[in-house]
Amino acid sequence: MKVVLENLTKCFPSRNKKGTEVIAVNNFNFEIPDGKLIGLLGPSGCGKSTTLNLISGLETPTKGKIYFGDQDVTNLPPEERGVGLVFQNYALYPHMTVEENIIFPLQNLKGAQKMSKEAMHQKAVETAKLVQLDGLMERKPKELSGGQQQRVAIARALVKIPKVLLLDEPLSNLDARLRLQTREELRRIQRETGVTTIFVTHDQEEAMSISDLIIVMKDGVVHQIGKPQDVYDEPANLFVAQFLGTPQINVFHGEVKNEKLYIGEEDVLDVPGRKDMPVWVGIRPEGFVPDANEGRMTCQMDRVEVMGRDVSVVSTHPQMTGRSIRSIVSAENKFDPDQKTVRFNLKPYKVFLFDKESEERV
């Protein structure tokens, strides 16, 4: 089922006396295609959870409309929307067994949809199998590991075959190893069921690794929507460029003069067809190519961190905005630990220019 968000806006009344409203979601427009896995990504407080709550019906929008397929669900209560929601803390009912938890949504069905006990059990077993929970049906949630609880929560959300599956920070309560495993699992379950899935995360790696599309939000405003690789390769603005990628992108004060890009005194890159203007220069860590003799950009060497396959060269530059510049280069490059400077050439497609004022990509 596709999900259409039309001018979706949510304001919360202010808590202080000045009466300024907090705009959690600002004019969100997007059509989420059927059967895709969407990552809703942004720093904390950016409105991504509110967006999720709006889609689930737990919050009602101040303005705008939500459609599931062609049906306008804006004013429908959550129970009539047919969504499955997985909470950050899973919210498993602690007094019910795994099976009772999974069956709970089925028991709530009314009228023609009502199911027999046998059918519900059958359905619960099927769903448990899908998330690989078979054999744990009689346990109580507290007798399960974090990863297992997570899967019970997903099973409970999926058992009714929802039109849309919503996950709020689904992996944040798991440890690092389990997180990797579970996100593969999530991807697999989504593929097998084909349910349109939206998940919220502040972890860009998580979002990039499993999503078909990512939506990058900040302060209630959507900054960019696209395939993970496209968003990474073509960030729309400085925020998106900085938010995606580890290590972070390196940002410099720079200027375009005579179709050359200057950082400080050096012209580091030819930029044919560009207007003369001051710019922010964003360079991905993998965009640096060390060249001891011909390199056009000179940085002060700080240290070299060996990571096995790659090395990470940490250096500084007077025009940089962060604390240091991090560049990832192949381990085949040898560096003298005593050298004072390091010289790089830049890969043009790893260098992004942003307007100094608007921070939009130019």
Binding site: L58, P78, E79, L85, A91, Y93, N108, L109
Partner: protein
């Protein structure tokens, strides 16, 4: 380890001393009294050791009346007060405006003196030479016959007693239940809503199990409290409860010791032990029953 033990005992000493002198010793003493037949408090003599006191008490019509009154009181007030308190607590936790004001109002009976409340109930229910009382005025204005609630028929007196007891025990229950309801994680309700549960089902399947330890605590302490009823009856009917036919077991114990016809510590002790046996049995049954019903997270 040993040194720590000594220290621990030292810390416990004040409490142990106090409880020993004022709780444990009297308790043991009561057991002795109950077995000493025809005990004379002045001469400190008794004629024999046996279950005679129990026999006398159990065949005393005043005790039977007190036992009947107490059981009726327990059977009515515990479920009614717990039920109404739960409804009020649910109401309080779902409103936003005036919540604090209502909470205060519902808590007022808790901080009001029992005898003062008794006086108010007298004004409401009693018929004197000067007035028929507010409730009777209401009844007659509706065209029914007036009832004397304080000196009238048994059912009327029992009704007033139950109303009084329920009213006086509710504030504490409401307070405890409101905080129990507030401590339930809101995510459970959101999850249940998204899962399509009706509000009735959310209450039965989520809320009630979540607060069941608290409800259970209130039921047990409610039973014990109701079995110990005495002061409320005094506030309503005065000290001569046997004459009013509204005595309770604790009242009977008190009468046997101190009233005009008192001075029988043996009978008092026997009655007290019978009360203990009843409360113990009821609490035991409660615990047994709750093992399958109460959810401890």
């Amino acid at each position: 380890m040993k040194k720590n033990n000594l220290k621990a005992w030292l810390y416990l000493l004040p409490a142990i001393l106090f409880l020993g002198v004022f709780m444990v010793y009297p308790l043991i003493d009561v057991c002795f009294y109950s077995l000493e037949e025809n005990y004379q408090s002045i001469a400190q003599t008794y004629t024999g050791v046996g279950l005679g006191n129990f026999g006398h008490v159990l065949s005393d019509p005043f005790f039977i009346q007190a036992l009947k009154n107490t059981l009726i009181l327990v059977a009515i007030t515990v479920p009614v007060s717990t039920g109404i308190s739960l409804l009020i607590a649910l109401g309080l936790s779902s409103i936003k405006t005036l919540k604090k004001a209502f909470q205060t109002i519902y808590f007022l009976p808790y901080v009001t003196n029992t005898l003062a409340v008794g006086l108010v109930f007298m004004i409401l229910f009693a018929r004197t030479e000067y007035t028929d009382g507010l409730i009777n005025a209401l009844i007659s204005s509706l065209g029914y016959d007036m009832v004397d609630f304080i000196n009238g028929p048994y059912w009327a007196k029992m009704l007033v007693t139950c109303l009084y007891t329920v009213w006086i025990v509710m504030p504490f229950k409401i307070l405890i239940l409101t905080s129990a309801l507030a401590s339930v994680n809101q995510d459970y309700y959101k999850a249940a809503k998204v899962d399509g549960a009706s509000s009735g089902r959310i209450f039965r399947k989520i809320t009630l199990p979540m607060i069941s330890p608290t409800v259970f605590y209130l039921v047990i302490t409610g039973f014990i409290g109701a079995f110990k009823a005495y002061s409320d009856e005094v506030a309503l009917f005065g000290v001569n409860l046997n004459e009013a036919g509204m005595n309770t077991i604790v009242g009977y114990v008190y009468d046997m010791l101190y009233s005009d016809k008192g001075g029988y510590p043996g009978y008092a002790a026997a009655a007290a032990l019978i009360l203990f046996a009843i409360v113990f049995t009821i609490t035991y049954i409660n615990l047994k029953f709750s093992r399958n019903k109460v959810q401890y997270m």
